[in-house]
């Protein structure tokens, strides 16, 4: 007899949890990306006094499915002269780190695929990988716009990963753990954003916007300069994967901000998972709000801003926090 119990017994409880979790994560990733594309279009529409999608389904809710289907059904064009292995690999690689990052995010007290005791390191390590895929995409496309976009992306990610890390460290000090669930639990007395880490939160949020290549830091795909940047040559499902990854990255960046600074799944009355999504989606909305308000910064300004303002302030914050905790 092959029941569920048997299977779990055979493969072990942990592995079963992982497999189930991965399936759940995949579903969340796809649904989240679909929802976010719809939200983005509605937000942009209303901020521009337009209405956004409205024809497909009520309030245009089915629109992302229609778009997704269209992209799925499209022929996969491979331009001549591309570096084929890299070109094929890039959209796949871009997707792996975002999937892995989801494993350690605590959606609720128990709703977490796996609580790794170095959770935050996993996320940071894997999110750095996504820049690799952008570089591969840019290089493999054999397109000048793509190449410039890719090189920009690398410089930008290196510059903004440092403040990202430096702002997460004080929180780790205060929670005394690298596990995400412990960090959330440490905020039962109050969110870290109100406990001396407001600047850390601000810097993290700015750096996260840059990490996810969103306006005003969307230089790798700067439309008016580089057409579409690193994904200029990608079409159909390959483009969709980049698109999916972008929205998932936004979600992850917001989820980490929620976990580290806004008390994660903690909140009164409503279940934790609802609180988690409310907070995360609010931050996602703010990132979209940025995009539909600001013009784009220039490349040297972007780097200057990180190296000359964000990193020193983050460093000072880290030292002060460490000093106070030690005392």
């Amino acid at each position: 007899m092959c029941t569920l119990d048997n299977i779990i017994q055979i493969i072990g409880k942990e592995v079963a949890r992982l497999i189930l979790g991965l399936i759940g994560v995949l579903v969340v990733v796809v649904v989240n990306a679909l929802v976010l594309t719809w939200v983005e279009r509605k937000v942009s529409g209303h901020m521009q006094r337009r209405i956004g999608p409205k024809e497909v389904g009520p309030y245009g809710l089915i629109q992302p499915f229609a778009d997704g289907l269209k992209l799925l059904a499209k022929e996969l064009l491979t331009p001549a002269n591309v570096d084929k292995p890299l070109y094929y690999l890039a959209p796949v690689i871009v997707f792996i780190p975002v999937l892995v990052s989801f494993i350690v995010i605590p959606f609720d007290g128990f709703l977490q695929v796996k609580d790794i005791n170095v959770g935050i390191l996993v996320i940071l390590a894997f999110s750095s990988l996504s820049v690799l895929s952008i570089l591969i995409a840019g290089w493999g496309s054999n397109n000048k716009y793509s190449l410039i976009g890719a090189t920009r992306s690398v410089a930008q990610n290196i510059a903004y990963e440092i403040p990202l890390l430096l702002t997460l460290l004080p929180v780790v000090f205060m929670a005394n753990s690298l596990s995400l669930r412990d960090i959330v639990e440490a905020q039962r007395e109050g969110w870290f954003v109100w406990r001396w880490q407001f600047f850390a939160f601000l810097i993290y949020f700015i750096a996260a916007t840059a990490e996810t290549n969103r306006t005003p830091f969307d230089l790798p795909e700067a439309e008016s300069e580089l057409v579409a940047g690193f994904h200029t040559e990608f079409s159909g499902m390959r483009f969709a994967l980049f698109f999916l990854a972008e929205y998932t990255n936004i979600f992850i960046a917001s989820a980490i901000a929620t976990t580290f600074f806004l008390g994660g799944y903690l909140g009164p009355v409503l279940p934790g998972v609802v609180w988690f999504f409310i907070k995360t989606y609010f931050l996602v909305f703010v990132i979209m709000w940025f995009r539909w308000t600001f013009p784009r910064v220039r490349f040297d300004q972007l780097l200057n801003f990180s190296w000359k303002i964000l990193i020193p302030v983050a460093f000072a914050n880290l030292i002060v926090t460490g000093g106070i905790l030690k005392l």
Binding site: V43, H46, M47, Q48, R49, R50, I51, W289, T293, I309
Partner: protein, 145 residues
């Protein structure tokens, strides 16, 4: 430096204030084709033939060919024939090639009998180029009914 950052941040917040206000304001777009706006009386669509005041069954056109000669794009072809026993030529076909017409209105102005006017037809669309070789006489007959 600190002051710069603070004033900069304030300017950004002001901008965000503008967009969030717009976010909660009503939309200004018209949801075509569910809603349409009125076409102004002077709108320049393709031309149409105007009925004669005394004899509303007939057009005012006297087949002089002024419009044909004055059209900058050679889009007009006026065909008339002289029937037995009648003094004047009678308009049989007025072909307007709308694919090259730029709605400048020179034909309307040059017409000595004011037989041409602009129609309010603002959304002609077709998969077929031949649709836009309008015969204004046929269109006039259709309008009459």
């Amino acid at each position: 430096m600190v002051k710069e950052v603070i004033t900069g941040a304030i300017s950004l917040l002001k901008g965000m204030g503008v967009t969030i206000k717009a976010f909660f304001s009503p939309v200004v777009t018209v949801q075509y084709p569910r809603e349409t706006i009125n076409i102004t009386p002077r709108f320049r669509g393709h031309t149409k033939l105007v009925a004669d005041d005394e004899n509303p069954d007939k057009t005012r056109c006297i087949v002089c060919g002024m419009c044909e000669r004055n059209c900058p794009s050679n889009s007009i072809q006026v065909i008339g024939e002289k029937k037995e026993g009648e003094k004047k030529k009678i308009l049989t076909k007025y072909i307007l090639n709308f694919t090259t017409c730029s709605q400048c209105g020179i034909c309307v102005e040059s017409c000595p009998t004011d037989a041409l006017a602009f129609s309010g037809d603002y959304n002609p669309a077709s998969f077929n180029k031949e649709t836009f070789y309008y015969d204004l006489v046929a269109e006039f007959e259709k309008r009459k009914k």
